[in-house]
């Protein structure tokens, strides 16, 4: 059993940034097929900015703008992540991932330095609801939702069965990757890909791809003994 603390969140974001950087070309290529060819570039720019912002925050004594600052809780850190993405991603993933993290932050509240696994899972659920509210996507629309929703459902179910967060996220990653793979035959109904209609069929969705990386990063980073 464990808790999720600020260090864990920073590890998560750092790991996600690494995965996005490594997969940047792939994400861009996927987006070139059914979008405007900037998902990899946008996410890399956004996550680089997130890592830089999180690096700065502990060093500053007082609150760094809308930054976390020394002694900031998990909610403040996620709010900073969300706002940084909103400002720097540029494409639809900015408001979408931005809202995901902002809603997670609201769910976790301002003060806590760490939260139990269940609270973190609840925050993931709140983040997912935010993505739906913002983007109005449904299952099968061929979007990030198609990877995120199965992951959140799975994490909740695993925790309810008594697994710890690390195990739940590992199974959640499998679900996210299956959800990502399932987008390939889908006909896009949202975003730039929806302008392509039938021609979007046969291409893996870039948003679902980055969402699967997000869950994989959590699985790698959140167990307390991760390095």
């Amino acid at each position: 059993m464990g808790d999720v603390d600020v260090d864990g969140l920073v590890r998560w974001m750092t790991r996600f940034a690494e995965l996005v950087a490594v997969h940047r070309e792939e994400l861009t290529t996927l987006d070139a097929a059914i979008g405007d060819a900037d998902h990899g570039t946008n996410m890399d720019r956004g996550m680089s900015a997130v890592v830089a912002a999180l690096d700065e925050a502990p060093a500053s004594g007082a609150d760094a703008g809308d930054g976390a600052g020394v002694g900031a809780g998990v909610g403040a850190v996620l709010k900073q992540v969300g706002m940084t993405l909103v400002r720097t991603v540029g494409g639809a993933s900015g408001p979408l991932y931005g809202t995901f993290f902002l809603r997670m932050a609201t769910s976790l509240g301002d003060g806590a330095a760490s939260v139990p696994d269940e609270a973190f899972a609840k925050a993931l659920r709140a983040g997912l609801a935010g993505v739906v509210a913002r983007g109005k996507a449904e299952a099968g629309d061929k979007t990030m939702f198609d990877a995120l929703a199965p992951a959140v459902d799975t994490v909740e179910a695993e925790l309810a069965r008594g697994s710890d967060l690390a195990a739940a996220l590992a199974v959640g990653t499998v679900a996210a990757e299956a959800g990502r793979d399932a987008t390939t035959p889908m006909h896009a109904r949202k975003g730039r890909a929806s302008y392509l209609g039938e021609r979007s069929v046969g291409h893996q969705d870039p948003g679902a791809t980055s969402a699967a990386l997000l869950i994989a990063a959590a699985a790698a980073a959140l167990p307390a003994d991760s390095s």
Partner: protein
């Protein structure tokens, strides 16, 4: 002290596009100080939108009478919606996100704001902005118009009038026609048969004025519905007076509406 007009915010992926669209719209303002703010691009060269920038632009555009936000597509809309969440409630309630086409809507919104229209009036006008282009480019309806006073064969009545007065069916007579048509439970359409344009709804001032039927043109009127006969008769009756313009001319130029119009409606 100038009264504050409704403010406008332009959200686009491209800063260059937003600035050019604003410069273009400002040409129609003739110096009126309408606040049009851009929230476009991540920087001068990078495409994208940023909800924080949109929120800041809304704050700058707001003069207390509301803000109309125009957007290009995709993430511009998402960023604008997220921007609303970043505003405090009183300001948020003064903002409307308007799904008008960006360039055309901005021109119309700027003019409307400059004439003192309220927030909802500006947004409504912007939503109609494609009308002129659609009318101009649309293919005329297939079947030829009905004979004067004949039944069009579709439960429609039809008639025609000549535009015999100077300046044609410009805004003032158009307004008279539109007001008269709205009195009746009927669907009335007009068509400038001299030009061969598409029919326009006689109840829309923007569309009737945009038809720009000038002196010498013939306009076909069709009416359908419960009061089609009365509506058609009224339009033709008013047309005989140039919707007020002929009478003014006849009395030596001093504009005075004919008695029939004064008795008509309040």
């Amino acid at each position: 002290m100038t009264r504050d007009d409704v403010g406008i915010v332009v959200v686009s992926h491209s800063r260059a596009l937003a600035r050019a669209a604003i410069a273009h719209a400002e040409q129609m303002l003739h110096g009126r100080p309408v606040r049009i703010e851009e929230a476009a691009g991540l920087d001068d060269g990078t495409l994208g939108t940023d909800a924080v920038r949109v929120a800041d632009a809304i704050v700058r555009a707001d003069g207390g009478r509301g803000v109309v936000v125009l957007m290009d597509l995709g993430s511009a809309v998402l960023s604008a919606e997220l921007a609303l969440d970043l505003l405090d409630r009183p300001l948020r309630e003064r903002v409307i996100l308007c799904p008008a086409p960006l360039v055309e809507g901005l021109c119309v919104a700027a003019v409307a704001a400059g004439t003192g229209a309220d927030r909802d009036g500006v947004a409504t006008e912007a939503l109609r902005a494609l009308g002129a282009k659609q009318d101009h480019l649309s293919v005329p309806a297939g079947a030829p118009g009905p004979d004067a006073d004949g039944d069009g064969g579709h439960g429609e009545l039809g008639g025609r009038f000549e535009v015999t007065w100077p300046h044609g069916l410009h805004a003032r007579p158009a307004a008279v026609l539109v007001q008269a048509v709205r009195e009746f439970d009927a669907d009335v359409q007009l068509r400038d048969v001299t030009v061969g344009g598409a029919p326009v709804p006689a109840g829309s001032l923007t569309r009737v004025a945009a038809m720009a039927a000038v002196e010498g043109h013939t306009v076909e009127v069709t009416a359908a519905g419960p009061q089609a006969r009365e509506a058609l008769a009224r339009v033709l009756e008013l047309a005989a007076t140039g919707f007020g313009d002929l009478t003014a001319t006849a009395v030596g130029g001093r504009h005075r509406p004919p008695p029939a119009l004064v008795a008509g409606r309040g």
